[in-house]
């Protein structure tokens, strides 16, 4: 299974290969193509996502919370499965319990009122734990930034979502609506931060790429890891040299 995923990741990386380009980050060998896709995504954001997110933010706080709760709830089955794959059984149990209890309201209300929410886990993170290489940075139309590994993980999560195997029309509808709901709530809940990148950054593409890698590393390594982070090492080296 792990070998198959490594091959899939490499194939996906190969599909997007183009002639050598001048790149600003070695993790991003298809930068010129990625920048064009990023521009397309920004245009979609201008016309669709930002106005919809503005509408979302105009909703009463309770409605926003309910939609955010629902988007989080739809991710619990995937979190439960992937936590199990990674040996994080406590997180898997927590995600399962919260999915079942909050399922009484389709996830719109948080009935558990538990401060200890499960850590989100996806198949990209599972592959990282299995030491599948992350591959290259690829910006996908509409889906946004990722690495070949995370994009493969996204496809696997979408195909294997337990909601899809329930055979219930309601479950299928929820599964189909989960991605757009997550995108809108994410854009709405991070409205100022994303607009700050979009309108204030000197290079929004490079800033997004940097934020993506750092955030993703935090998800994979764990924010509370005692091991020195890449940033710690970078600063330590810098202070040694200067």
């Amino acid at each position: 299974m792990r070998k198959l995923l490594s091959v899939m990741t490499l194939v996906l990386a190969g599909c997007s290969a183009t002639s050598p380009e001048i790149v600003s980050d070695n993790r991003d060998p298809y930068e010129n193509t990625n920048r064009k896709v990023f521009e397309f995504n920004m245009a979609v954001d201008d016309v669709v996502l930002e106005p919809v997110a503005r509408g979302y933010r105009a909703l009463p706080d309770g409605v926003q919370t309910a939609l955010t709760n629902h988007a989080t709830w739809t991710s619990y089955p995937s979190t439960a499965v992937n936590s199990t794959f990674q040996g994080k059984y406590e997180n898997a149990a927590l995600a399962t319990i919260q999915f079942l209890i909050n399922g009484l309201t389709l996830g719109f209300a948080d009935l558990t009122e538990n401060d200890d929410d499960p850590e989100p886990e996806d198949f990209g993170q599972t592959m990282a734990v299995w030491n599948v290489p992350q591959g290259d940075y690829v910006v996908m139309p509409l889906l946004g930034p990722g690495t070949t590994r995370s994009h493969v993980g996204w496809v696997v999560d979408a195909v294997t979502n337990p909601l899809g195997f329930m055979g219930e029309p309601t479950a299928d509808t929820i599964r189909m609506a989960s991605t757009p709901t997550s995108i809108v709530t994410f854009r709405g809940n991070n409205y100022e931060q994303i607009n700050d990148i979009k309108y204030n950054a000197i290079d929004p593409y490079a800033k997004t790429r940097s934020l993506y890698f750092q955030y993703r590393d935090g998800q994979i390594v764990g924010l509370n890891s005692a091991a020195p982070s890449d940033a710690d090492k970078a600063f330590d080296d810098f202070l040694d040299e200067n």
Partner: protein
């Protein structure tokens, strides 16, 4: 009996010796105090309802007092720093500072609703410590976040903040990678970064 007493005394001494170095690193308390003083200073400034000019002046003073601006500017420039001329370095430092001041002018008000609680501090070698704390937004608009402050503790130099990290995202690493992209996209010209920073500062001011 004497043997038992000697054994107990030796055990106690050994325990003290083993624990002492970890708990006695004065840099950790110093770093935590530096961050707490910074937060207190910002809260005092915000409470005084400052004009934009006052915010600018206070931010300038805060940068010099609490942050190692030279290290920050050099780190943010990335490897291109070494190839830049002295004139370019000086111009870049001014332009970068101008961006920070412009951002402070527009975003200083956001500190009004934030509370900070120190959590812990850990040493990362002998030149760096990381002090962490929790930021709480009293309006409930933003969730609580862990903030880490990288603090330079180079022997013989003042202890100063060099980076702020929120949820594993380092402000300075982000700035460095963005700056590096600008330079590489413009054929390695350091001047392109300076021009972009000037443009950015101008656009932040215009958007005000």
């Amino acid at each position: 009996m004497f043997s038992a007493l000697r054994h107990a005394t030796l055990s106690l001494l050994l325990a003290v010796v083993m624990i002492a170095p970890a708990s006695a690193d004065p840099r950790l308390a110093e770093g935590t105090t530096l961050v707490e003083n910074l937060v207190e200073r910002i809260q005092t400034v915000v409470a005084a309802e400052p004009t934009p000019e006052e915010v600018r002046a206070e931010t300038n003073a805060i940068i010099d007092e609490f942050f190692d601006y030279n290290t920050i500017a050099r780190f943010a420039a990335g490897q291109a720093w070494r190839k830049a001329t002295d004139a370019e370095k000086a111009e870049y430092k001014l332009a970068f500072r101008e961006v920070l001041l412009s951002l402070a002018e527009t975003q200083f008000e956001q500190f009004r609703t934030l509370e900070y609680t120190s959590k812990d501090a850990v040493a990362k070698g002998n030149k760096l410590i990381v002090a962490s704390g929790m930021v709480h937004d009293i309006t409930g608009k933003y969730p609580d976040s862990v903030v880490s402050w990288r603090i330079s503790t180079r022997p013989g130099k003042p202890i100063k903040i060099i980076d702020i990290e929120v949820e594993n995202i380092s402000m300075l690493i982000t700035q460095q990678q963005e700056n590096t992209a600008i330079i590489r996209q413009n054929g390695g010209k350091f001047q392109a970064l300076i021009d972009a920073l000037k443009e950015q500062a101008q656009s932040i001011k215009t958007a005000e």
